[in-house]
């Protein structure tokens, strides 16, 4: 492999990593399965879904949250704005929940594409992605303060 090929490979890896984490100032959107009956939810309701305080949607579908892996800007923004805590507090909360209730955190997905796959395959799915990654396989819902 030549030096130029190494540089191209490194640049490609960086580009993929950046795409999967979202741009630094990009907003997140909350996505659900297209059959979901809600167009908007309050931020406290979304936090109950992600923190597994609510286990089913009103029509009976099991809530299946997915969380972006890593500590990228999109995840950080979602955790602070919707869950009302920082990354450390969230990690500590899941340690407590595993021990006290036997409840594990949402499944971690590596990027927005995997989050969309997760949600599109489950009627109760819910996740968040960079707004630029939205497509017709999932439905975006508005998060009210």
């Amino acid at each position: 492999m030549t030096r130029r090929q190494y540089i191209r490979l490194a640049a490609g890896v960086l580009w993929v990593a950046r795409q999967s984490l979202g741009k630094p100032n990009e907003e997140f959107i909350v996505i659900v399965h297209p059959s979901n009956r809600f167009d908007a939810l309050s931020s406290s309701k979304v936090s109950y879904l992600f923190l597994r305080k609510v286990s089913r949607w009103p029509w009976g579908a099991e809530v299946a949250p997915a969380d972006l892996a890593g500590n990228g800007p999109i995840r950080r923004r979602f955790v602070e704005q919707v869950l009302g805590m920082n990354q450390e507090q969230l990690a500590e909360l899941w340690i407590d929940q595993r021990a006290t209730r036997g409840v594990s955190p949402p499944v971690e997905v590596r990027d927005a594409a995997a989050a969309k796959l997760w949600v599109a395959a489950r009627p109760g799915g819910i996740a968040y992605i960079p707004s630029s990654a939205l497509d017709s396989t999932v439905k975006a819902i508005r998060v009210d303060a």
Binding site: H33, P34, S35, R37, F38, D39, A40, L41, S42, S44, K45, Y48, K53, V54, S55, R56, P58, G84, M85, N86, E88, A91, E92, I95, D96, R98, A99, T100, R101, G102, V103, S104, V107, V109, A114, L117, W118, A120, A121, S136, T137, R142, D144
Partner: protein, 370 residues
């Protein structure tokens, strides 16, 4: 009978819908939209069981009544969980080298002076609704500290003096519980019954016996809505009635609160037991409380202080009281690792005896598989 079933069903749907009133459901016309075919499922975690636990080392050193005393304690806890549909199974196993901390649970192997292995908690949980769940097995009495007492969760090394002392520790029985959330607040309830177990202590630390009694109790927690002014604002009351083998009932109640805002957090519990009540007259009381403010200095470093008091037996009010002031630091370089150090000042016998001091340290590592 069928009419009753229909009524219960419609009531449960109505209650379920109530909690979702904040959301904006689509209109009927919206629901007709085309749903794209489900793509291939992303790979789910393949491990058949959720396995977590923590390994803990603590070192206690104090000068109780001028007798210099210290010991080391190694312990490990393992949590095994499995969720299948509406069913969840959970078990907690503990291995401990310090008999002082071995006060509840079912011994899995013959107990040795330097090692005990116990099943402390094991239950099956059925989730009918979030506001109606049933749990059966070996359960903890749901005081705040008992529920969250894990070294990987707590900021202090030592438990409050009232823990395991005023309320019983655990029970073999059933529990009906649930949560309802709306807006920024909610309510949680627990109703439980069974046969409890409570350690009988000698000189504040040594467990001399485990006493069992028929128990019924309940707890109501209000998650106070604060328009996100507080991160957590929980207030709870608990009531418990137990009848031991001697036929004399004990009446226990407790109040607790948990407040969190920004970097600040305050925990507090008060518990009171009227013991051996005969014809409405109690033989003696046992009560205590603690208040524990903490401050997150940096994302990884916490400062915590606690004031603690226990009056073990009102018949010997002076001799049986103990107060403690603690101040400590907890460093969490990563959320799964805790390094704790804490200094304690004890006031035995209502401060009639001279105060003594102690230092406790702990190193905790929490893990989960895969």
């Amino acid at each position: 009978m069928k009419y009753l079933q229909v009524k219960i069903l419609s009531l449960s749907i109505a209650v379920g819908a109530l909690g979702w009133a904040q959301g904006t459901p689509q209109t009927a016309g919206d629901q007709g939209q085309q749903v794209p075919p489900a793509p291939e499922l992303p790979a789910s975690p393949g491990f058949p069981l959720d396995v977590a636990g923590y390994i803990n080392f603590r070192y206690v050193n104090d000068d109780a009544l001028q007798e210099h005393d210290f010991y080391r304690d190694y312990s490990a806890s393992l949590f095994l969980s499995k969720t299948v549909g509406r069913w969840r199974f959970h078990a907690e196993l503990n291995a401990d080298t310090a008999a002082e901390y071995d006060s509840n649970g079912i011994h899995l192997f013959p107990r040795r002076p330097s090692l005990s292995v116990t099943l402390d908690n094991a239950f099956v949980n059925y989730n009918a609704r979030d506001w109606l769940q049933l749990q059966a097995g070996l359960l903890f009495i749901p005081t705040y500290w008992r529920t969250h007492r894990y070294q990987s969760t707590t900021l202090t090394v030592d438990e409050p003096l009232i823990d395991e002392t005023v309320f019983p520790t655990a029970l073999k029985g059933i529990e009906l519980y649930g949560d309802r959330y709306w807006g920024g607040g909610g309510v949680s309830y627990i109703v439980y019954g069974g046969v409890d177990q409570q350690p009988q202590f000698q000189e504040n630390t040594e467990v001399v016996a485990i006493e069992s009694a028929r128990t019924i109790g309940g707890k109501l927690t209000l998650h106070v809505p604060s328009r996100q002014f507080f991160r957590t604002f929980d207030v709870a009351v608990q009531r418990l009635h137990r009848v031991g083998t001697d036929g004399k009932p004990d009446e226990v109640y407790g109040v607790e609160f948990h407040l969190g805002k920004s970097r600040y957090e305050v925990l507090g519990e008060f518990a009171h037991a009227s013991l051996d009540v005969v014809n409405g007259v109690r033989s003696y009381i046992r009560q205590g409380y603690y208040i524990q403010p903490s401050y997150r200095i940096t994302p990884k470093l916490f400062a915590v202080v606690r004031y603690d008091r226990l009056d073990r037996d009102s018949r010997y009010a002076d001799e049986s009281s103990l107060a403690r002031q603690s101040a400590g630091l907890t460093y969490r370089p990563i959320p799964s690792v805790s390094l704790k150090v804490e200094g304690d000042r004890y006031e035995p016998q209502g401060a009639r005896l001279p105060a003594y001091y102690g230092v406790t340290t702990a190193l905790v590592w929490f893990f989960h598989l895969p």
